[in-house]
C-alpha cells in the first residue's frame, strides 16, 4: 500500500523537475501552514513531506501520475478554509496546492458561464463576475476559499434558499485522474443526458476521486435590488416558527438566517461594529432580491406582515450597500469571533419543517449537560450550525470552564444531536463535508449498502488509494 514515511530524495528531485525547484517546499517552517485547515484541532493536523505547487493541468497530471506510480499519498489543497480536516495530509505524502492555478480563463457573456482554474478565490471570482454585470449566487462564507475546494466540498452558504448550492452552478469540470489522464466531464451545457453524470461524482468528493483543475460555472443576470431585513423576536421559537409560514407565502428569499442575540453581541464587540437592533433575544436575517424597487417593497411588506403577526418586535431594513455589508459582515464573522472558544461546529441538515424541533432538542441537550450550545444557521434550508463551546455564558459574560469538564461532555453532546438528526431523517453535513472529523458518524446516517457503493466508486477511480486517503471513510473498515 502507501509508502507512509519519508519520500526519498529522488522523488523530491523529480517533483522539482516537474513544477520547478522553487515550487516544491520542504522547509518545515513554511510547510506548517499546510498542515491544518481553518478550524481543525491540533490533534488532527499533520505535516506534509513536501508541498508541491503546479502551475498547469499538465504539471498536475505529471505529479499525480508519479504519485500513482510511486504509491505515495497526495492531498489536494485549495484555500484551506474547510472545517473538517479535508485538506490535511493525514496519510502523509505530499500536499498538492492549487494556489498558482488562479486564472479566470473567461467570462462568456453569451452563454452566461465562466471558466475558472481551481485556485481562483471566491473573492476574485465575485469581483470579475460583477464587473461583467453578472451574478454568481452561492455565497459559502469565507471568500478566500478556492473555487476548486468549494466544488470539491459542494459548499452551500446562506443564499442556498433561493439559489441552491454549488452543485447547481457547476456545468463542466477538468479533472486529473490518478492515472494522470485528464478528463472533461460536462461543458458549457444547460442539459446533458449522455451517460452517467461523472461530473457530479467529483462535486463533493473532497479530493478523493480526482484533482479538479478547472470548472465551467453557470452565472445569472444580476438582480437589480437587494435588501436585508433584520427582525428581532423575544423568543427563538417564534423566530423559527415564522420560517415555514414565510416559505409557503410564495416568497423565496435569498437567505433566511436565525441568530441568537448573545452571539451577535460577542461579534459586535469583536468587530467594533453595530447591529441594527438591540431588541429581543433572537434575530431573523432575511435577504431579499427583486428586479424593481416596487417589487422589493411588495416583498418586504409581505415578509414584515408575516413576521409581525408571529410576534416579531420590529423590522429593520438595510438597503444601502454599506449597511447590507455591515449586517452581513457581522453575520459572517460570528465564526471568527467565537472560534477561539469553540470546540466543534456541527453542520447538521434536517428537513426544513423539522428545524424548530431540532433546535428545541439542542436547547434540551445544552440544559442537560450544562454547556453553552449557541445554534444558528440557515433556517430556511434546514442547515443548523450548533457550536459546542468550551465556555459558559452567564448573564452575557463568558466564563471558561476546565477541560476535564467539557472533554467528556463533548462526545455525548455530539452523539445526542446526531441521533436527533437521524431521527429527523437528516444528514450530518449540509455543506462542510465529512473530511476526517465527521468520518466516525457516516454510518449513522448512510446505509451500509450506500457506503459500500461509495467505496466501490473510490476503488474504480483510485485503485491505489493515493488521493486524499482516509477522508470521508476508511477503505479497509
Amino acid at each position: 500500500m502507501n509508502k507512509i514515511g519519508k519520500l526519498d530524495g529522488k522523488i523530491i528531485d523529480k517533483l522539482k523537475g516537474i513544477v520547478g525547484g522553487t515550487h516544491v517546499i520542504t522547509d518545515q517552517e513554511y510547510m506548517e501552514d499546510y498542515s491544518h485547515d481553518e478550524f481543525s484541532l491540533s490533534d488532527i493536523s499533520r505535516m506534509p513531506e513536501a508541498v508541491v505547487k503546479p502551475a498547469s493541468v499538465q504539471e498536475v497530471a505529471k505529479v499525480v501520475k508519479m504519485a500513482n506510480l510511486e504509491k505515495f499519498p497526495l492531498t489536494p489543497r485549495g484555500g484551506a478554509t474547510g472545517l473538517c480536516g479535508g485538506c490535511i495530509p493525514s496519510a502523509g505524502g505530499i500536499v498538492l496546492s492549487l494556489e498558482r492555478m488562479n486564472n479566470i480563463i473567461e467570462i462568456d457573456k453569451h452563454n452566461q458561464m465562466a471558466v475558472v482554474e481551481a485556485g481562483v478565490t471566491l473573492m476574485n471570482f465575485y469581483e470579475a463576475v460583477e464587473n461583467e454585470g453578472l451574478f454568481f449566487p452561492p455565497h459559502p462564507g469565507e471568500e478566500s476559499a478556492f473555487m476548486g475546494g468549494v466544488i470539491a466540498t459542494n459548499a452551500g452558504g446562506a443564499r442556498a434558499v433561493k439559489y441552491g448550492v454549488i452543485r447547481n452552478y457547476v456545468r463542466g469540470l477538468e479533472v486529473v485522474l490518478p492515472s494522470g489522464k485528464i478528463i472533461h466531464p460536462g461543458g458549457k451545457l444547460m442539459k446533458s443526458s449522455t451517460g452517467y453524470n461523472l461530473m457530479n461524482l467529483f462535486i463533493g468528493s473532497e479530493g478523493t476521486l480526482g484533482i479538479i483543475t478547472r470548472a465551467v460555472i453557470q452565472l445569472m443576470p444580476e438582480p437589480r435590488e437587494s435588501r436585508s431585513l433584520i427582525i428581532p423576536y423575544d423568543s427563538l421559537e417564534e423566530a423559527i416558527e415564522t420560517v415555514p409560514i414565510l416559505m409557503s407565502s410564495k416568497i423565496i428569499p435569498l437567505a433566511v438566517e436565525f441568530i441568537p442575540k448573545d452571539v451577535i453581541q460577542i461579534t459586535e464587540r469583536f468587530l467594533n461594529k453595530k447591529w441594527p437592533s438591540t431588541d429581543g433575544s433572537t434575530y431573523l436575517l432575511i435577504i431579499l432580491d427583486a428586479d424593481s424597487r416596487e417589487e422589493m417593497d411588495r416583498l418586504s411588506e409581505t415578509v414584515a406582515d408575516i413576521c409581525l403577526n408571529k410576534g416579531a418586535l420590529d423590522v429593520f431594513v438595510a438597503d444601502s450597500p454599506q449597511k447590507q455589508e455591515q449586517v452581513l459582515e457581522i453575520r459572517s464573522k460570528i465564526y471568527e469571533a467565537i472560534k477561539s472558544i469553540t470546540l466543534e461546529i456541527l453542520d447538521i441538515v434536517v428537513p426544513r419543517a423539522e428545524i424548530a424541533l431540532h433546535v428545541k432538542k439542542v436547547q434540551e441537550v445544552a440544559a442537560k449537560y450544562d454547556i453553552w450550545l449557541p445554534t444558528f444557521g440557515h433556517a430556511a434550508d434546514g442547515n443548523v450550525h450548533t457550536h459546542i463551546m468550551k465556555v459558559k455564558l452567564v448573564e452575557g459574560r463568558l466564563i471558561p470552564f476546565p477541560e476535564k469538564e467539557w472533554v467528556g461532555k463533548m462526545d455525548r453532546v455530539r452523539e445526542e444531536l446526531y441521533q436527533d438528526c437521524k431521527i429527523r431523517k437528516g444528514m450530518i453535513s449540509g455543506e462542510h463535508g465529512i473530511g476526517i472529523v465527521k468520518k466516525p458518524y457516516l454510518s449513522l446516517v448512510l446505509d451500509d449498502a450506500e457506503i459500500q457503493l461509495m467505496k466501490g466508486i473510490k476503488r474504480v477511480f483510485d485503485p491505489n488509494n493515493i488521493l486524499n486517503p482516509g477522508k470521508i471513510f476508511d477503505l479497509k473498515s
Binding site: 522553487t22 517546499i25 522547509d27 517552517e29 513554511y30 464587473n131 454585470g133 431585513l229 433584520i230 453595530k274 441594527p276 437592533s277 417593497d297 418586504s300 411588506e301 414584515a304 420590529d314 423590522v315 429593520f316 431594513v317 438595510a318 438597503d319 444601502s320 450597500p321 454599506q322 449597511k323
Partner: protein, 260 residues
C-alpha cells in the same frame, strides 16, 4: 427646536464610475445613488436632538425629481417633513450656486429655524463648500466637521477633531453645522417607517418660484475635463524559498525603494 437638514443624492461609493468623455459627464446608467453618508450623520443627529429636546426635523434637497428617493429615506428614518427644491439643471458642481438657492429659500420661504445641519461634504463632488457659503450668505455662526454636539437652550457646544487634539467651540443658535463621521451611528430604517414615508407627500418648491435672476443662477464654474484616476500598479511579489525571497526584498528596499 426647529432643525433643517440639507442632503444630497450621490453615487454610492461602491459604484464604478464611468465617464462619458464626449459629454464630459459621468454615465448615470447602472449607477446606484444613495443619500450622501455625511448627510446621513446630519439627519441622525437632527433626529436625536429632536428626541432629546422636542421640535421638528425638516429635510431639504436641491435637485430634480429623482432626489425624492433620498428624501423618502430621510422620512423613513424619522424626519417630520421633506421639501424638494426642484432644480432640473444638470449637476454644475458649483457650490456657490447651490448655497445661493438655499440661502434664498431660508430668507424668503422657510425662515423659522434654530439649526441648519449639513454633511461636511457630499461624496462624489467632495467640495464641502455649501454649508460655509450658506452661513456666510445668512451671516450665521458656523462650525464644520463636528464629531460631537451638545445643545442647551439657545446655546450649543460642538467638538471637532483637529491635529492631535479636540477643539471645543461654543456658539449660539441659530447656527450652521456640518457633520463628520463619528458624530453618531445612523439608525436603520424600519419597514414601518419606509411604508409611512412612501405615503407621505413631499412638497415641491420649484426654482422658478424663488424669483432668482438668470445671472444669479448661472454657474460660475465650468467642468473642463473628467478623468478617472490611473489604475494602481500591481504589487511586486518576491517568489522562492523564504531566505532567497527575503534577500531579494532587502535588495529591493535598499536599491530601488531606497528606504533602507
Amino acid at each position: 427646536m426647529n432643525i433643517f437638514v440639507f442632503v444630497k443624492r450621490v453615487p454610492d461609493t461602491e459604484s464604478k464610475i464611468r465617464i462619458d468623455h464626449k459629454a464630459n459627464k459621468i454615465i448615470k446608467d447602472g449607477l446606484n445613488f444613495v443619500l450622501s453618508p455625511y448627510d446621513e450623520y446630519a439627519v441622525e443627529e437632527a433626529l436625536r436632538l429632536r428626541e432629546a429636546h422636542g421640535g421638528k426635523v425638516t429635510v431639504f434637497s436641491v435637485g430634480a425629481d429623482e432626489v425624492n428617493i433620498i428624501l423618502k429615506k430621510c422620512l423613513a428614518m424619522g424626519a417630520d417633513e421633506a421639501v424638494l427644491l426642484k432644480d432640473d439643471t444638470p449637476e454644475t458642481y458649483d457650490g456657490l450656486r447651490t448655497a445661493k438657492i438655499i440661502a434664498k429659500v431660508l430668507k424668503d420661504k422657510f425662515m423659522d429655524y434654530d439649526l441648519l445641519l449639513f454633511g461636511r461634504l457630499s461624496i462624489g463632488a467632495d467640495n464641502g463648500q455649501v454649508q460655509t457659503m450658506v452661513a456666510q450668505l445668512l451671516d450665521l455662526p458656523q462650525i464644520n466637521v463636528v464629531t460631537k454636539l451638545e445643545i442647551e437652550g439657545n446655546q450649543g457646544t460642538a467638538y471637532r477633531e483637529i491635529e492631535g487634539a479636540s477643539e471645543k467651540v461654543a456658539f449660539s443658535l441659530p447656527a450652521v453645522l456640518s457633520a463628520q463621521k463619528g458624530l453618531n451611528e445612523p439608525r436603520y430604517e424600519t419597514l414601518k417607517g419606509i411604508m409611512m414615508a412612501k405615503r407621505k407627500e413631499i412638497p415641491v418648491l420649484p426654482l422658478e418660484d424663488l424669483g432668482m435672476s438668470a445671472e444669479e443662477l448661472a454657474p460660475l464654474m465650468e467642468v473642463v475635463n473628467l478623468e478617472s484616476p490611473p489604475p494602481r500598479k500591481a504589487g511586486t511579489v518576491f517568489e522562492g524559498e523564504a531566505e532567497a525571497a527575503a534577500k531579494k526584498l532587502a535588495q529591493f528596499l535598499h536599491e530601488e525603494a531606497k528606504v533602507i
